[in-house]
């Protein structure tokens, strides 16, 4: 009996209206993010089976391979589109044909097969983002597998059945096709597989979102705790009754939290950079990837770092101003801990979505919802800088500036009025008609 009384009291304290409200919002946000991911994966898996092919060899053999591939794709729900490439300027050709990838059967392919040589097949893929889902293409693997099988059966028919197969030809049967991959980024192309580009860039770009995440969480937590503690200790009342402008009070809090956060950022940036370069330096040295990434424009120069830094700075200011508003709602340090959750979610969701999905290719409704979260633009900043999406980048900065001004205005209005002392969330006290103290 006594235990249950205690348990009831503890539960009541921990499970206040504020906690429940935030839990509901979190669930809705996470369900939304999950649905978005699921839709994108569905869409992606459908398109993964579609193949665009260009037969430059144009022999009876390649014609038969393409026809058989078409039939197989139709059976599995995919589609085969045949195109004609006019030149090997792949960026231009992909744009002209409005396609993102193409499997090329080069001239001399049949000759190579007949000579029992490993036949070359090319695969060209255009990258528009570093999102994992947008760069998945199992269709190319299907095509490659199918072409390999066709080559194998030809060799088998010609050589094995009439008993003229040599030892090198037997070895060749294990790997009858050589895949040459080319990656296109904007107007540049380079002989490197998109998966290699993706893994290298992902590792390099992992630093910015992680730092962002740490910075936003750290600075928000600081501001929220400061305001909650000042409210509880009533030092805020002392401060706000002093002859000092409210703007100075807010600015000092934001600037100090921002400075400490920036200090943290520098320390983390150095540490993370060292850690990531431990991985990437070795990989680059082995695969000579550095030059390829540079040729594709996928390395961050001073200008790019400056642009990303600017968006990071804006994001931190936004997080701080939102925290000021949330801090005004906090009843105490415990409720401040709960109030950080909306910031955590609005940082986590765009971070995860931008990692897996190319936001430019998702449905407009989802895209606008995700773009409405101001932190999204910073998570996308390095990609936008590298892929030359200057329109989205500038739009993002303008949106962040507007968002910041709105938040700062709201925060200032709260601090200028008595709402700073009267506003709470889920903390409604039962009052007598005239009770105020």
């Amino acid at each position: 009996m006594k235990f249950f009384n205690l348990l009831k009291k503890e539960l009541k304290e921990m499970l206040g209206l504020q906690t429940i409200m935030i839990m509901v919002v979190s669930v809705v946000a996470l369900v939304f993010a999950g649905q978005a991911m699921s839709d994108a994966i569905d869409e992606s898996s459908e398109s993964q089976m579609d193949i665009t092919i260009c037969d430059l060899d144009k022999t009876e053999f390649t014609d038969a391979v393409v026809t058989a591939l078409k039939a197989q794709l139709n059976e599995s729900g995919g589609e085969l589109k045949e195109v004609e490439l006019e030149s090997d300027d792949y960026p231009k050709e992909l744009d002209r044909l409005d396609i993102s990838s193409v499997v090329i059967i080069p001239e001399g392919f049949t000759d190579q097969v007949e000579k029992s040589e490993s036949a070359d097949v090319s695969f060209v893929q255009k990258m528009t983002s570093l999102a994992t889902m947008s760069n998945l293409n199992t269709g190319s693997q299907t095509a490659l597998g199918f072409i390999s099988a066709a080559v194998k059966s030809t060799i088998y028919a010609q050589k094995v059945l009439d008993g003229t197969m040599t030892e090198p030809e037997i070895v060749l049967l294990e790997n009858p096709v050589t895949l040459n991959e080319t990656t296109v980024v904007a107007d540049k192309s380079e002989s490197i597989s998109s998966s290699a580009v993706l893994s290298m860039c992902s590792m390099q770009n992992m630093v910015v979102p992680i730092i962002m995440f740490v910075l936003i969480m750290f600075s928000s937590q600081m501001i929220l705790n400061t305001i909650a503690t000042e409210k509880v200790d009533k030092t805020l009342e002392t401060l706000l009754s002093a002859p000092i402008s409210r703007l100075s009070v807010i600015s000092a809090k934001m600037l100090s939290a921002g400075t400490v956060a920036a200090l943290q950022a520098i320390v983390y940036m150095i540490g993370m950079n060292r850690m990531m370069s431990g991985f990437t330096d070795n990989l680059s040295a082995e695969g000579n990837y550095d030059k390829a990434l540079e040729a594709l424009g996928l390395t961050m120069g001073f200008k790019q770092y400056l642009l990303v830094g600017l968006q990071m700075f804006l994001s931190i200011l936004i997080a701080l101003s939102v925290s000021l508003i949330l801090g005004a709602l906090a009843k105490d340090a415990k409720s401040a801990q709960t109030l950080i959750l909306p910031i955590t979610l609005s940082t986590m969701i765009p971070y995860m979505l931008s990692m897996f999905l190319d936001l430019q290719t998702v449905s407009p409704a989802l895209r606008y919802v995700v773009y409405a979260i101001p932190f999204t633009h910073t998570f996308m900043a390095s990609q936008n800088a590298m892929f030359g999406n200057s329109g989205i980048y500038i739009g993002g900065i303008i949106y962040q500036l507007v968002f910041l001004i709105v938040c700062m205005t709201v925060a200032l209005r709260i601090f200028m009025s008595d709402r700073i002392f009267t506003m709470t969330i889920g903390g409604k006290k039962k009052k007598n008609k005239h009770e105020a103290e």
């Binding site: 009533k234 009342e237 002392t238 401060l239 002859p243 002392f421 009267t422 005239h434 009770e435 105020a436």
Partner: protein, 245 residues
């Protein structure tokens, strides 16, 4: 010659929602060098009234003038003429007593010399001696309250607003603080204090205002009120005033 009024409260009200008044049409004044006390039980509306005068809460009706400046239209100028000590207030626990007084002095002073002067006065007033160089987190409740009171009066404001200045203090500390308030009032500083300890108020204040359920029921000198209600102490005055309402 009529004494100078440093505070004129005119029909001040705070309505939280329709029909729910924390404070309703409160009117009184405080003269230079006077200690005016608002007395009433918890929840009577004392703190709400005081916080409106300290420009922390916005009045929904009425106005108050501090040194001639309106809390509605000139809150910045009002803040230059007051100091406010909230009930149960704390200080920045990571600071030492001395650095806290210096920090607060800099907020109230117009220049560095004045700030140093205020801080020195604060250090003298709080009588904490060597403990001033210790962290506030190590202070007892009484020491902290003395420090905060010194902070509130070191700049010699036109009006010092003290909410329950001796709450939670032992008899010795409470007596010291009352004595300090009386001495400063004798030097010309004005005080608006609130308390539910009516015996304390009887000793320290020049005039009192009895407040209950948001209404100011009576104002006058303690001796006048005792005579009017034919009682021996302010507690009985309060009881009779509330019953007569």
């Amino acid at each position: 010659m009529e004494p100078i009024k440093v505070l004129e409260v005119k029909g001040l009200s705070k309505q939280y929602k329709k029909g729910v008044y924390a404070s309703e049409k409160v009117t009184f004044d405080v003269k230079k060098g006077e200690i005016f006390a608002l007395i009433g039980p918890n929840g009577a509306g004392k703190t709400t009234t005081i916080r409106m005068i300290a420009t922390l809460l916005q009045a929904t009706e009425g106005d108050a003038l501090v040194a001639g400046y309106s809390i509605l239209t000139d809150p910045d100028k009002v803040r230059r003429n007051i100091t406010y000590l909230p009930d149960e207030a704390g200080a920045y626990k990571n600071m030492t007593g001395r650095s806290y007084l210096k920090f607060m002095a800099e907020l109230y002073a117009d220049n560095k010399e004045q700030a140093e002067e205020y801080a020195a006065e604060g250090c003298r007033m709080c009588e904490l001696g060597d403990r001033l160089d210790d962290k506030i987190s190590s202070y007892s409740r009484g020491m902290q309250r003395k420090l905060l009171l010194a902070r509130a009066i070191m700049s010699k404001p036109v009006l010092a607003i003290l909410d329950e200045p001796t709450s939670g203090l032992d008899i010795i500390n409470a007596l010291e603080i009352r004595r300090m308030i009386k001495n400063l009032a004798a030097e010309g500083m004005s005080f608006l204090i609130s308390s539910h300890n009516m015996l304390e108020i009887e000793y320290v204040s020049d005039r009192v205002g009895i407040i209950a359920k948001g209404h100011l029921l009576e104002t006058g000198k303690p001796s006048e009120l005792l005579e009017k209600y034919d009682t021996k102490n302010l507690e009985e005055v309060f009881e009779k005033a509330v019953n007569a309402q």
